[in-house]
Symmetry: C2
């Protein structure tokens, strides 16, 4: 498998759309090497989201720091044909020399607000579009989903069980990372635990029960090795399984250290109540109840609403694929080149021109409203975009530990107006305005571009 050799996709300059390389060649040929500003933002909140939690910046900065074309990659491009000798020579010394401004990971963002701003020579800023979108999109989709799940769980533990249904290995790792960022407690993925230094937890699978001569024998064997584990009790019949755990407690006495049981099928609310009652009657109040099986924020909210005595939630598929909103319309758009603002007018894909800043206003310890403004505008609001990279080097502001980003995410959720924690879309969402100055720039540029709308050719 070629993909398993050499530079990995997330490190490789070839992880890009072919058109980026073609445009680069053309920019170099025209000596269009002036500074461009690209902004990464989304236009529309998915239908049942009241916010997006921005994530993925750490990977983006790591990618930009290491970006280069290896000798093998240059040879391969040469063999493909279609590129000029001059361009291929220019790739030899290519690296990213630009500045990056961004909102810190875990920040809540809204429609049309720049999340990442790349200020770099045009060819460099163009090449990186594909990877930047790929990672900011994925990780923001996942962090947003995880923030909703954590919010619905109201302080109960949430664990990422999503590796098997995440879209590939990279997504599986990023589910673990972004879930933790958004407040989940742990992941089941061992590789992710090692990569991000986050807690890893694991229970047992049905196959373990099935492989043994009886459920009781299986449970007894497992706690021989892992006394303080979580036991799975629904392989044959949940309440019969619970009774076997109680029998084990009676048999083992002081040596019984089982922390929890896991319910993985059936009416979880009802089974949790009956299991709790059985354990409490047996004097096993310390045994916790953990639930899994197709959970998402809606089901967790419903279970807690009906008073299900569930202490922790294992969330898999829906945390991993964000099934009700698997995509957000993130774009990466040129807003300025050679110190002139730029825009496009494509039908229903309009673009606010020029380099921007987002100012956030607060009231009574909550976020109140945002204003999207020209970058250099003065405002009493708190600017969201901070410089995280200078001339291709990561700044201290761009080195945020996952723990610190998690704390920032927690604070952001605490600042969110209570009504926007709803799992359904709130009619009057969070207010985001455009500043007068930005609106004027926009109108002026529209007038200047009018010539492009006529069938006559422009002067050039």
């Amino acid at each position: 498998m070629a993909e398993q050799q050499g530079n990995m996709p997330h490190q490789s300059a070839l992880f890009t759309d072919l058109y980026q390389l073609r445009m680069m060649q053309s920019y170099y040929a025209e000596e269009m090497n002036a500074v461009a500003v690209f902004e990464l933002f989304f236009r529309k909140l998915p239908s049942n989201r009241n916010f997006v939690m921005a994530a993925g910046l750490d990977n983006v900065l790591s990618y930009l720091e290491h970006l280069h074309f290896t000798d093998e990659e240059q040879d391969w491009l040469k063999q493909q044909g279609g590129f000029s000798q001059q361009f291929l020579r220019q790739l030899q010394d290519f690296n990213f020399t630009g500045d990056v401004f961004a909102v810190p990971e875990g920040t809540l963002v809204f429609e049309n607000e720049p999340v990442v701003q790349v200020i770099a020579p045009l060819p460099e800023a163009q090449l990186v579009e594909t990877y930047l979108l790929n990672q900011i999109h994925l990780q923001s989709v996942l962090a947003t989903k995880a923030a909703r799940v954590v919010s619905a769980a109201r302080g109960h533990k949430v664990v990422d069980f999503g590796s098997r249904r995440a879209h590939g290995t990279d997504a599986a790792l990023k589910v673990a990372r972004t879930s933790y960022l958004a407040g989940a407690n742990a992941t089941s993925n061992v590789f992710a635990g090692r990569a991000y230094d986050i807690p890893v937890v694991g229970t047992m699978a049905h196959s373990f029960i099935q492989a043994h001569p009886s459920e009781y024998a299986a449970l007894r064997a497992f706690i021989q090795e892992f006394p303080d584990t979580t036991l799975l009790v629904d392989t044959y019949d949940t309440l019969a399984g619970v009774r076997k755990v109680i029998a084990l407690a009676e048999a083992l006495g002081q040596d019984f250290k089982v922390e929890a049981v896991r319910l993985d099928s059936g009416d979880l609310g009802k089974l949790a109540k009956e299991s709790r009652r059985l354990f409490d009657e047996a004097g096993l109040n310390q045994v916790r109840i953990v639930a899994s099986s197709g959970l998402d924020e809606y089901k967790i909210q419903a279970l807690l609403k009906e008073g299900a005595p569930i202490d922790g939630f294992g969330v898999g598929t829906q945390l991993a694929v964000s099934g009700d909103a698997p995509e957000i319309d993130f774009s990466y758009k040129l807003v300025e080149y050679a110190s002139r603002p730029r825009m496009k007018l494509s039908s229903s894909k309009e673009l606010l021109p020029g380099r921007k800043q987002v100012f956030r206003f607060f009231e009574a310890d909550r976020m109140k409203r945002d204003v999207i403004a020209c970058f250099e505008e003065n405002s009493d609001g708190k600017p969201l975009l901070e410089q995280v990279m200078s001339q291709g080097k990561r700044l201290e502001q761009g080195r945020v530990s996952l723990e610190n980003a998690r704390e920032h995410a927690r604070q952001q959720m605490a600042l969110l107006p209570p009504e926007l924690h709803a799992l359904q879309r709130v009619k009057l969402g969070y207010p985001v305005a455009v500043s007068n100055s930005l609106r004027q720039t926009n109108e002026q540029l529209q007038r200047e571009l009018a010539v492009e709308l006529s069938p006559r050719l422009s002067a050039s």
Copy 2:
């Protein structure tokens, strides 16, 4: 970033759920090292799917061939604590020694049909669950989506533009791979083109137009470098853009080699018709029209139905995330251990016990019905599961080039009954029966397991 060092997730034995490692330790401690059979299958077709196209086997076999714990990984596990010294020693020489049976990539499969069958010592077969599910799930979700898009495009070209919205770098590569498998013509992802040796294509982006003093100047500059390219015409106004391409043709005469224009916004059907008319009136019948912008199989079908003269489709987000069915309920379940069939009874997650084969029957050059049977049953039908790995080594049957798998996928789609090509769910879907013999095994095992359902403890 730790994830960028050492073994990559898709090669690492640590890309697994923690519970797999815990169960392994327990199996080793109990000397439960006999042969297990696990089957990977899905229970329910997503609501608007009439088939699933199986994919991902090549990656799975590559993973199994190379599976081991590196010294660093062993050290890390040791540092974590929680595992026995004996188990950690056993990991030193761990590799996968089992057999694998599977349906070839590109095969169309249905509910409850095993797609991959792993026959290996229990601890080995257990460890690999997470990666096998991760890849077969992802690639089958994507191949199925791509097969629908290709089918809807009715012979018109389909190109994967999905890298930026795919869920991570691995998914982006797999979108390219599975789309090609399912009949798409090319990808925009350069890394994927190199990794899988598939055609890579690219046009240009709005930023290129915006960065230039005028749209005309941009188009002219781009064909200077890439004369036979595809030009993007919707940055300011689509038909004004088309007229600029026509003016370019007039200016360049014989040197005008532009192959196509790309429409990326607005009413694509109407704009394609008007663009076609403008080009034809200008004598530019050879200029093709390519469309992109939020396309999926439903929109492509509608565009072709209204007679839109579109020659090729660039499909991005929906091909990449399969938004209408981002997940399939694939599971990997123990069906046999130490030569005895196994099952579970968890509510609405029942399992057909024992090692199985799927036999397919044909009539008048179409697939007619499938029978899920015990593995050793005789049948006139064509068995779908083939041996692809023996004692950890890939067999010739397991080495299928992507081109050959693509041809197999094409034949499979040609064998699918015409009504099942519908984009909506067909009421009476493809018939899949369970053989009498398998039904009897199932009933017998249910009787044997009755003891587990009673509150009394079993003998052991």
